[in-house]
């Protein structure tokens, strides 16, 4: 069985306990929840938007939305992490809508605000090559249509299950599967155009 089709069983009790304390105004409970999920939300936002500054804004907005209405999260509907990614996804889309050039691959290539950890650290020459290739790969990802990018980032890059991706995007698992397949194909096409896949650029054919 595909391990991505089901959510890994995990003990949600500690998280629910933190949520309960948080709703009573316990700041330390909020801090603990934040530390558990901040990196995953930020990574998702960074991979989705391709910009560190926008990803930081998106992460902050997602948690602020949670602070404002913590009752919005319903544990019966899935994991807290996937729910937060869903909120971050909405803000990322909003950011992309407000700033159309945020997902423009040419702008992303020129984005020097990305953290060092985003590229491989090898020799200076290797670093230059890897740096350039990492930029190109990110640009290729940014060029994938947003609704395909959602599931591509969630499932392939952030280790979320199909069920969690479905929860975050508000779609069913079958749609996650089909979007993932198309998202991979679009990503491959973009990589191919940049010469990062073997062979000549892939061409669309009409059915």
């Amino acid at each position: 069985m595909d391990p991505k089709t089901t959510m890994a069983p995990r003990d949600m009790q500690p998280e629910l306990s933190l949520l309960s304390r948080l709703r009573r105004g316990d700041e330390e409970a909020f801090a603990e929840l934040y530390r558990r999920h901040k990196d995953a939300v930020y990574r998702f936002a960074l991979l989705w938007t391709g910009s560190a500054a926008t990803a930081a804004d998106v992460t902050q907005e997602a948690f602020l939305a949670f602070i404002a209405k913590p009752e919005m999260y319903d544990p019966a509907r899935g994991s807290f992490g996937a729910w937060l990614c869903g909120i971050a996804r909405n803000f990322a889309r909003k950011e992309a809508g407000l700033r159309e050039d945020a997902t423009d691959p040419s702008d992303l290539l020129a984005d020097h605000a990305l953290p060092e950890a985003f590229v491989e650290n090898v020799t200076p020459e290797g670093r230059l090559l890897a740096d350039e290739r990492a930029d190109q790969v990110r640009a290729a990802l940014a060029a994938v249509a947003p609704h395909y990018r959602d599931v591509l980032v969630l499932c392939e890059l952030c280790d979320h299950s199909y069920a969690e991706a479905a929860q975050a995007c508000g779609i069913d698992i079958g749609t996650v599967r089909s979007r993932l397949s198309r998202g991979r194909a679009q990503f491959a096409t973009q990589l191919s155009r940049l010469g990062l896949l073997a062979g000549s650029p892939r061409v669309k054919e009409a059915s």
């Binding site: 909020f30 990196d39 404002a68 990492a134 990062l196």
Partner: protein, 165 residues
Amino acid sequence: MNTPQMPPLSAVEESRLEDRLAELRSASHAIEAPTAIEAKLRQAFRAKARRESSRPRLWWMPPFALVATVAAVSWIARGPTDLPVPVAAPVQASLDDAGPFLALRPLSRIALEPSATIVRTEFPRAYLAQLGLPVAPERAGEPVQAELLYSADGEALAVRLIDPN
């Protein structure tokens, strides 16, 4: 409409695609959210907690409003309405003792009337409905004999049916 479809990936392309995804995945695993965010969020959390603690606790308002509404509705449904009430003591002696007057205005208003006049009249039974009295639809067109108590300025204060049947 034709939907553009991609040709399937070759084994080499598939392998390269997996490589690129793996590179991105491994590069992004080391990424952490900027530390400055936590301080801002904690500040927002504290501000919200302060707002909530300073706000008067009004949790009891909705149930109280519900109970009050139910009580008011049931009182209106069961209690006396605007139906005319019998006048215990008519202002002036009537010509005969046909029955009690039904007040059409508040009793306090009638009591203050210095020179009320009783006038015997006849009107269609349907008019009784306007005075708040029950009228059978099939008899609405029949005439009915009544005495009306008028104020000095011609306002109808009370009515008494001579032939209530």
